[in-house]
Amino acid sequence: MLNDIFIKPFVDMFAAPDFLLQVLWEGLVSGILYALIALGFVLIYRSSRIFNFAQGIMVVFAALTLVGLHAMGVPAWVAVVLTLAVMFGLAVTIERVVLRPLVGQPDIILFMATIGITLFLIGLGEIIFGGENKVMITEQLGIPTGSVVLEPWGGLLILEQKDITAVIVAALLVVGLLLFLNKTRMGRAIRALGDDHQAALSVGISLQTIWVLVWFIAGIIALVTGVAWGARAGVSFALEVIAYKALPVLMLGGLESITGAIIGGLMIGMLEKLFEIYWGQPLLGGNTETWFAFVLALIVLLFRPQGLFGEKIIERV
């Protein structure tokens, strides 16, 4: 038993390093996607203290709109632009209809409201696009679909080109976002709002504009995530469950930290794959990916209640 837990998995890892690399790569790619969803969460949480549960369904909704528009005969890139327009419309609607009347309510009420939005979008999406699994328009968007075969140490390592594309696009998106938040006027306004609502309002930052902007950026991130994940697994409402995977990422990284979201996402993506392959399947009957991330985050949180990179929680009475 002890041998199976502490020694055998590591022996297996060293015996087949190419397989280990393959596992890590798979983990890295899903980790990137977790990180992207977590990024959407962090952005909204930082600027408005809303724990946006609807981020997952926004991913599905964006991907469905894109595929649906293309199926209606709209050229792929026009469809992308139109989808962005739809996401902008969604951001404005959510701000007007849901958030504005609820300004200043306790956190849990806003959280509930975003679950309400989630249900609404699930229903709406099923009525408009139908519930069946759809194929992402990977080729039409010019994403390469081949694969790169490497042979480290005489082994075999297969990297799908669409995964490589996803990693590169995600990296570009994160860099762009960081530049936007740190260097532009709008980005600084978003951060100011996150630091102190009233102070930000008093220097003339418009709450409404920023909220629409933030939700729109979250929509853009959702679209990128939707395309990347859809290229791997098809587009369906099952995608929504990956939103749950972003939650332990947030815990691990800290609710306010963009760096935390990315590092947390990569860590969880790789560790849960490792655990599943080397411990979960042989010892626990598999499918441990559903809870491993949560338990890991829980253990980390016991030692650092604000996550690895979150703002230190200072309590005053």
Partner: protein
């Protein structure tokens, strides 16, 4: 006029602190209880029992359990369904290992197991707060559902991986299983839920309840006046999980008749959270109002198109249902963030002074 309190004088602190300081409240409750115990069972059809009466009571009980934790003690939990599952599986194991056991006793005891599991998963709440804690309770949710699936002993190694409620007898009448009569089941559920409600009301009014409320409002201040936070939070987890576990056992044994692990998945948790929040956090009455809304609404929406003669495919109705529920949640949050219970409180205030505004 109906609710006029003039002439009802309180001459002692006891009278002022009584369960029903206003006589009309007691009368109203009496009328509701008369409906629940006599009139509904006499008039309800099989369909009404199965789609409205029994589920409303069970959901209300589950929401009450959650409300103790979230509404009274201020610890947000997203893992309610998993604790219901613990109750259901514990009850199943007990009645299959000890078939001579009285089913009602088994149901009441099954809560003890979920209380234990609840305390174990409540330990992180001593360090973690707010949304971090909410996500931490999701660990319970996903881990326990996974366990229900993988631990074959829990479902007696049967091939389907689901638990099937056997025929259970009490005093010569079937109360659970395929042969049980709906009306009998309704009475069992009603009796258990009534007793638990009474228990919860008194717990939340008493010393323990005030400790929870202090913890919820400002926990550091509560600690300063000498409340042991660990005790307060863990008892909240314990009582809440007990109530939720009993609700879970009722859910499977008195209503569904069979259960697969994914029945206790996260949508059920959210459903119960909706009931607690739309009903009103920190209120017992609210759980019932929320359950009536959340359970009743889909039934009404489902029968409405057919009644109006509009031909809509049943799958579309389902989707419209989901959409409407989502929309209504947002709607109710906007008109009254403190829930239906607060709405009733406002109406009652108005009724007391009506028709004179002062």
């Amino acid at each position: 006029m109906l609710y006029r309190t003039a002439g009802q004088f309180k001459t002692s602190y006891e009278a002022d602190q009584a369960l029903f300081p206003v006589r009309q409240d007691a009368i109203l409750l009496g009328v509701i209880l008369a409906f629940a115990w006599v009139i509904f069972p006499l008039t309800a059809s099989e369909f009404t029992f199965q789609t409205l009466l029994i589920p409303i009571l069970i959901y209300a009980l589950a929401a009450m359990g959650l409300n103790i934790l979230t509404g009274y003690a201020g610890q947000l939990s997203l893992g309610t369904a998993a604790f219901m599952g613990v109750g259901a599986y514990a009850c199943y194991k007990m009645v299959t290992i000890m078939p001579w056991m009285n089913p009602v006793v088994a149901i009441m005891l099954s809560g003890v197991f979920s209380a234990g599991v609840g305390v174990a998963f409540g330990i992180p709440s001593l360090r973690i707060k707010g949304f971090y804690l909410a996500i931490a309770t999701l660990a319970a949710q996903f881990f326990l559902v996974w366990l229900f699936e993988k631990w074959a002993w829990l479902y007696n190694y049967n091939a389907s991986g689901a638990i099937q409620v056997p025929n259970l007898e009490m005093f010569g009448v079937y109360v659970a299983g395929p042969q049980a009569d709906s009306m009998v089941q309704y009475y069992v559920v009603l009796a258990i839920v009534s007793v638990m409600t009474m228990l919860c009301i008194n717990l939340t009014r008493g010393n323990l309840g005030r400790t929870w409320k202090a913890t919820r409002d400002v926990d550091i201040a509560a600690e300063l006046i000498g409340i042991n936070l660990m005790k307060s939070k863990l008892t909240a987890f314990m009582v809440s999980s007990y109530v939720v576990g009993v609700a879970g056992a009722l859910f499977v044994f008195m209503w569904r008749g069979a259960a697969e692990p994914n029945l206790f998945d996260i949508p059920l948790s959210f459903r119960i959270l909706f009931i607690a929040i739309i009903g009103g956090l920190g209120s017992i009455l609210g759980n019932y109002l929320g359950a009536i809304l959340i359970v009743g609404l889909p039934v009404v929406l489902g029968t409405l198109p057919a009644a109006l003669g509009i031909p809509i495919a049943s799958s579309t109705v389902e989707h419209i249902n989901v959409m409407m529920v989502g929309g209504l949640i947002v709607f109710f949050l906007i008109i009254e963030p403190h829930g239906l219970a607060q709405l009733w409180r406002l109406i009652r205030e108005k009724l007391i002074i009506w028709p004179f505004p002062h």
